[in-house]
């Protein structure tokens, strides 16, 4: 009995399965034909998925449906989402940019783009395609460029720190959307952008093979559409990657996650307590462009020239009049921590950068002067109140851009 028990136990625990049943039952030709058919079916399913809007009741790309949680919306999905519900008489307002326009600091029900939509009314359709950590001319911009090429009336609203290299969006975290758009045939490569891209990559000293591998991936996806299929499966049915954002329910489809991570704002008295790093960043930002010599602010001409040349590369001239660039600024609390001379240089920096953006043909908006600390969730992001005020400002600009009212 003991030896029988022993042998059973040994069989249960120690004998690795042989998988011989697979060898016996599988017909090799059937396996190969099956693999080929499976590949084709997946590719067709991917194309089908790409053609339909995946994101129902969409408000913004919150942290569960964006690359910060390893979820990568595809360019086709952005295009389908942009066109979802768009009627022929409507003007599409695509909002790009970073976490400030993504509404980090605003609860879903008080998201600034929702207010923008309600102010603008039915004549416009507002879609928030901004992502945390994105640049001014990232995924959302490429969608607007593509829809422009289809003859749709599109206004693109984005934000940036005035001195940030505007070409960064071609190759940042969201640069995959650019490759996706190119290889799926939505956008054509143009000389200026490719020049910007190669300059950018040289400045990063990125290894060439990494970049070419991403491009090869985009090329394969251009005809296989596997990213569209996979993202659809991950959104609707089951996600396949563990992430620190979803530690306990990594397999849960992303559509089940609710956009509710924004905490209520703290009282203004404690909201800006840890501001030293932000203020240092602020000093560094204007310091790159303006040199302080005693009480004097001296322009660093080379930096302004570089920015000017970068602005010339980002987007075709014809689209610039339909592009509203919000030059974001820090909260009054942080600005007040600068010395009077530093504040003067910072203002100088904003004024000169704005002039450059205007000169390049973009419409620009700054909101720093009129906003109070209550309007900020933290040093840079806007609170519910700030979001509402921004929506009011942007609505006026958008109406002016569409010719509805004079600026």
């Amino acid at each position: 009995m003991a030896s029988k028990h022993h042998s059973i136990q040994k069989n249960l625990i120690l004998q690795p399965p042989s998988f011989n049943w697979m060898r016996v039952r599988l017909n090799p030709r059937a396996v190969l034909v099956g693999a080929l058919i499976g590949f084709i079916v997946c590719s067709i399913a991917g194309r089908f998925a790409a053609a339909h809007n995946l994101y129902k009741n969409f408000l913004r790309f919150h942290c569960y449906i964006c690359p910060t949680s390893l979820f990568y919306p595809t360019f086709s999905q952005l295009v389908s989402l942009a066109q979802d519900g768009l009627q022929s008489h409507q003007i599409l307002v695509i909002v790009g940019g970073d976490s400030i326009l993504n509404g980090a600091g605003q609860q879903t029900e008080r998201l600034w783009t929702a207010r923008l939509q309600s102010i603008l009314g039915d004549k416009y359709l507002v879609k928030n395609f901004s992502f945390p950590g994105a640049y001014a001319f990232d995924g959302g911009y490429f969608v607007s460029e593509y829809l422009h090429s289809l003859g749709k009336k599109v206004i693109y609203v984005t934000d940036t720190n005035p001195g940030t290299d505007p070409t960064m969006g071609f190759d940042g975290i969201y640069g995959y959307l650019y490759d996706d758009a190119i290889w799926k045939g939505y956008l054509q490569k143009n000389k200026e952008r490719e020049l910007a891209l190669s300059t950018l990559r040289q400045s990063y000293r990125k290894p060439a093979e990494v970049l070419s591998d991403r491009e090869i991936g985009a090329w394969i996806d251009g005809w296989s559409y596997f990213e569209d299929l996979w993202t659809t499966v991950g959104y609707k049915y089951a996600f396949t990657v563990w992430t620190m954002r979803t530690p306990n329910t990594p397999w849960q489809p992303r559509k089940r996650y609710v956009d509710n991570l924004v905490p209520p704002p703290e009282p203004v008295t404690v909201r800006f307590q840890n501001s030293r790093r932000d203020v240092d960043f602020l000093r560094k930002t204007f310091g790159n462009f303006i040199e302080m010599r005693g009480t004097e602010c001296i322009r660093r001409e080379s930096e302004f020239k570089t920015l000017e040349s970068q602005l010339a590369l980002i987007t075709p001239k014809s689209l610039r009049k339909d592009t509203l660039v919000i030059l974001t600024s820090s909260c009054p609390n942080h600005l007040n921590l600068l010395s009077p001379e530093e504040r003067q240089c910072n203002e100088h920096f904003y004024k000169d950068c704005k002039e450059l953006w205007d000169k390049a043909g973009f419409r620009t908006l700054t909101y720093g002067d009129s906003f109070t600390d209550e309007d900020f969730f933290d040093g840079r992001h806007l609170s519910n109140e700030g979001g509402e005020r921004l929506a009011d400002l942007v609505a006026t600009e958008v109406r002016a851009m569409s010719g509805e009212e004079k600026r």
């Binding site: 022993h6 120690l14 090799p28 030709r29 093979e209 394969i220 990657v241 530690p247």
Partner: protein, 399 residues
């Protein structure tokens, strides 16, 4: 991971149909050589290719000569190349620096001028295969005369990066058979193995990596159950990662009609350390056995010498994984484990026999002891020694 790069997938998707459609063995040889060299060139770059070509040329020439002294010299060259490229910084920083810091600094600076930023791709695998080849030729086995055969033995792309470490006596006949004809069974079984490998690597190992990277830095804050879960994840991650890689390599080789031996055989089902090493990274453990342990005397020497040889062999095995103290210690740890495993029944007298009997009767017990031993070893493998020790203590301390 090279196998999951788009370059590799696109290149292999273009290469395989051409390889299947061509029926002539000669053209297949040419195709396979060109593809393997392209593969190596793309991922290793010129700085990685040149040393390997030089080393391969020397090995081939010496092998053809069948001169025993030359073979010994060739082995020394391969060992020197491996040590030079992989262990120079380690020797300077870890061995020389404590005794003579200024000399270590001078040597390190001098080597930094000569050495590339990282060692040539797969230098450890190349060196081990060359040493095996020259060792066998020195023993009197027939060398590879044909240059094309030797190039394929050296640069065969599926096993180039992470093994299995090939034996030319098995590989060359398998290669010849594969070049003559590939059956649909080869292709389908190969593809299934590749799919299984990708599943292990991308779906299991990579997810576990994310989980571990998130939890390991906050190990002290975790509950005791979560800590043990992290340990299990670490043990499973290394297995799925490495065996997945081996499966992909074996699967691609099989798709070409070439059978290369398996590298893992359900190692976590082993009931003692000896068995674990018969199931884990088989090509490396048999290499160490054949070319380090047996030449040192193997089982023919006394117990003390045998234990010493096992410790030495496993120290080398540890260092082979990387030039760092924790790898060395991991090797030693397994060497000690193996020594205990092979001697406790006799050295502990009645208690040893009793323990051995209990392990024989209750294999779950011996399995549990083995898996625990191996799992604790992975902490040494992955983390700096103080951190690994701290983690080990925390596994038994209730938060």
């Amino acid at each position: 991971m090279i196998f999951s790069t788009y370059w590799f997938l696109a290149a292999v998707a273009a290469f395989l149909p051409v390889y299947f459609l061509v029926r002539s063995a000669k053209i297949r040889v040419a195709l396979l050589i060109v593809f393997s060299l392209l593969f190596h060139g793309h991922f290793a770059g010129p700085a990685g290719v040149v040393p390997i070509i030089v080393l391969a040329t020397i090995t081939y020439a010496i092998g053809r000569s069948r001169n025993k002294a030359a073979c010994l010299l060739g082995i020394c060259i391969a060992v020197t190349a491996l040590c030079f490229y992989k262990y120079t910084h380690f020797v300077c920083d870890t061995i020389i620096a404590p005794a003579n810091p200024s000399l270590a600094k001078v040597l390190d600076q001098a080597s930094a001028v000569i050495l590339p930023a990282s060692p040539p791709l797969a230098i450890s695998f190349f060196s081990f295969e060359f040493i095996h080849y020259l060792f066998e030729v020195r023993r009197g086995r027939r060398p590879i005369y044909r240059l094309t055969d030797f190039i394929q033995f050296t640069f065969f792309f599926p096993s180039l990066v992470a093994g299995p470490i090939k034996r030319y006596g098995q590989f060359i006949p398998a290669l010849k058979q594969g070049l003559r004809y590939v059956t649909t069974r080869d292709v389908s079984e190969g593809m299934l193995r590749v799919a299984a490998g990708f599943f292990k690597k991308l779906c299991l190992a990579d997810n576990l990596t994310l989980y571990i990277n998130y939890n390991a830095p906050r190990f002290p804050e975790l509950t005791i159950q979560e800590r043990w879960l992290v340990l299990a994840a670490i043990a499973l991650r290394i297995y799925f990662d490495f065996s997945g890689y081996s499966d992909i390599a074996i699967g691609f080789a099989r798709t070409l009609g070439i059978t290369i031996p398996k590298n893992f055989n359900w190692p976590y089902l082993a009931t003692n350390i000896q068995e674990f090493w018969q199931r884990w990274h088989i090509s490396l453990s048999t290499w160490i056995r054949d070319y380090v342990y047996i030449p040192l005397g193997g089982n023919r020497v006394g117990t003390a010498r045998r234990v010493f040889n096992a410790l030495l062999a496993f120290s080398l095995c540890g260092l082979w994984h990387g030039p760092a103290l924790n790898f060395l210690l991991w090797g030693l740890y397994h060497g000690i484990g193996l020594a205990i495993c092979s001697t406790y029944r006799t050295s502990l007298g009645a208690a040893g026999r009793l323990l051995g009997g209990a392990f024989d009767r209750i294999p779950v017990l011996s399995w549990a002891c083995t898996i625990m031993f191996v799992a604790f070893g992975w902490l040494l493998f992955f983390y700096p020694i103080p951190e690994a020790l701290k983690m080990t203590v925390l596994l038994f301390r209730v938060a």
